[in-house]
């Protein structure tokens, strides 16, 4: 006989109500839920299933994975690549070649530049570069198709890493072990991974694109249309942005499922539905205020955690074994305010000990956080329990022209 079965019906109702209330509180603390709708779109031609799980290596914490089909342009010569990371903090599809331990075995046509030389790319992320060739592919995701667009093939055997790329200083990621995925699907609010800077010649060119003769590569100007492209921008009707939809998470879990929805206000299943619109500046940022200070801020499904400030400003200690994450002794609840233009919203979030989270055997970690000077990086924990919209630069939506974030 349990204690509960001894109670009268009215008090049992009260106990259940209290439990439900506690569950709601937990959802707010851990999942960072918002007052706006959090729905997971049902299967449709503009809906791609996604999952937060341990990834192809079985050890990835807080990454969204999905499948992407690539084809030799205008052919039925295709390959479906699983375990591709969904990232709205970057732009363009990058696939890890089999030479790097990735799944891609299909040979896609190499892009060539001036003089017929193969084009290489050093794609910069904040803590790594990805090196390889630029190829052309048709891309199919759900019922959407982007025809004949530039993609990056991450390939450690493609030419020598140029000095300009080495001098970015961060390590090269070109193996399954270091990437932790078979590729990265960059579907953020810009169309190209570099933009106007890479069209420049001379000292104004930052050195992402290269003309490669043999194993020797030189920095080369790259026209916008030849740069690695966000595939969503080339879709038929749903080409103005995406929605990342994941359920609320109150405690660490092994995996969760959600939807990546293409288009904003283009179908019956992708309206803004009351989400707040945060217009982005030319760098792709809105503003986050914390303790009276303002910082450039962005939402980024490709960041494992919430990354903000430092130990001095937050009183959150770094982990003993890594300076990339916070390791408080007990749960810490914080809040900050996101704003842009007339839109403002207070965001509550929770930080727990990263070492404890990583040793839990779970891979969905709603309170993972770490330091980050200068910007507020609202990484994957922010997405749990929120529909997060990324509207593409210069594309129109019913609620205005991109780039904007909405949630």
């Amino acid at each position: 006989m349990t204690f509960d079965s001894m109670t009268s019906a009215p008090s049992r109702f009260a106990a259940i109500a209290a439990l439900l209330f506690a569950a709601l509180l937990l959802a707010r603390c851990g999942g960072g839920s918002s007052s706006h709708q959090n729905t997971i779109a049902a299967p449709a031609s503009n809906v791609q299933p996604i999952s937060v799980n341990s990834g192809p290596n079985g050890n990835y914490g807080n990454g969204i994975f999905t499948s992407v089909t690539v084809c030799v342009p205008a052919s039925s010569n295709c390959q479906t690549i699983s375990d591709v990371l969904v990232d709205i903090g970057s732009y363009g599809l990058r696939l890890l070649s089999s030479a790097g331990g990735g799944a891609l075995t299909l040979t896609l046509p190499q892009q060539t530049g001036s003089g017929g030389n193969p084009v290489g790319e050093c794609a910069p992320f904040v803590a790594a570069v990805m090196w390889g060739s630029v190829a052309t592919a048709d891309i199919q995701i759900a019922g959407e198709q982007a025809s004949s667009i530039p993609v990056q093939i991450i390939d450690p055997t493609f030419a020598a890493l140029p000095a300009t790329c080495q001098n970015f200083g961060v390590p090269e990621q070109d193996t399954l072990q270091t990437v932790g995925a078979n590729g990265i699907l960059g579907v953020g609010p810009f169309l190209q991974d570099c933009g106007p800077a890479c069209t420049a010649t001379g000292s104004g060119n930052p050195g992402l694109y290269y003309s490669c003769a043999g194993t020797s590569c030189q920095v080369a100007a790259q026209a916008l249309a030849q740069q690695v492209q966000n595939p969503v921008g080339s879709f038929g009707t749903d080409s103005n942005g995406v929605i990342v939809e994941l359920p609320a998470v109150s405690a660490p879990m092994v995996s969760i499922s959600g939807s990546l929805v293409f288009g904003i206000g283009t179908e019956s299943n992708n309206s803004l539905a009351g989400a707040s619109v945060f217009p982005l500046d030319g760098s792709g940022n809105f503003t986050t205020s914390y303790n009276g200070q303002s910082y450039p801020a962005f939402v980024d499904s490709g960041s494992n955690g919430l990354f903000f400030l430092d130990s001095a400003l937050t009183s959150l200690p770094l982990c003993p074994d890594t300076s990339s994450f916070y390791c408080p002794n007990s749960t810490v609840n914080l809040s900050a305010t996101d704003s842009s233009g007339a839109t403002s919203e207070q965001i509550s979030f929770t930080v727990n000990n990263a070492d404890t989270l990583f040793s839990s055997g779970d891979f969905v970690l709603p309170s993972l956080a770490g330091p980050n000077p200068g910007t507020f990086d609202w990484g994957l924990p922010f997405f749990f329990g929120r529909n997060v919209f990324a509207a593409i630069d210069a594309r129109s939506t019913p609620e205005g022209t991109g780039p904007y974030s909405a949630f």
């Binding site: 990834g55 904040v126 932790g180 000292s203 962005f298 955690g305 910007t375």
Partner: protein, 138 residues
Amino acid sequence: MLCSVFAFAALGGDASSVQADAAHLQGSLQITTNASYALHEIQAPTGTRVREYVSASGKVFAITWQGPSIPDLKQLLGSYFPQFQQAVQAPKTRPSRTPVSVRQSNLVVQQGGHMRAFYGRAYLLDQLPSGVTEESIQ
């Protein structure tokens, strides 16, 4: 002869190298001073803004950068570049996508942001002038 990447003074270097480099800069250089240090701000043709903090004794004790791409950190970190590379390339126990956060007894190097918008800073913990906090280096 100019390299394709123009030169900055490096972390730990002296102020005279900033002045010498200024002649080669294709971007603009602005210098402001306060009681603790001189701030050299350089706008590079790539769109990246670099700030170098020079102490009263003439040493570059901190550098910050922000812009659409990562600047030449070999150039900016100078003799500290190998130490940074060794720290940032140390194998990880699991794949992760986090900002750069190197913190050693003498050197801090951090970089965050996202593709098309990078923010970073590097400073020498044992050479911060008195009264200059880590938070003030932006």
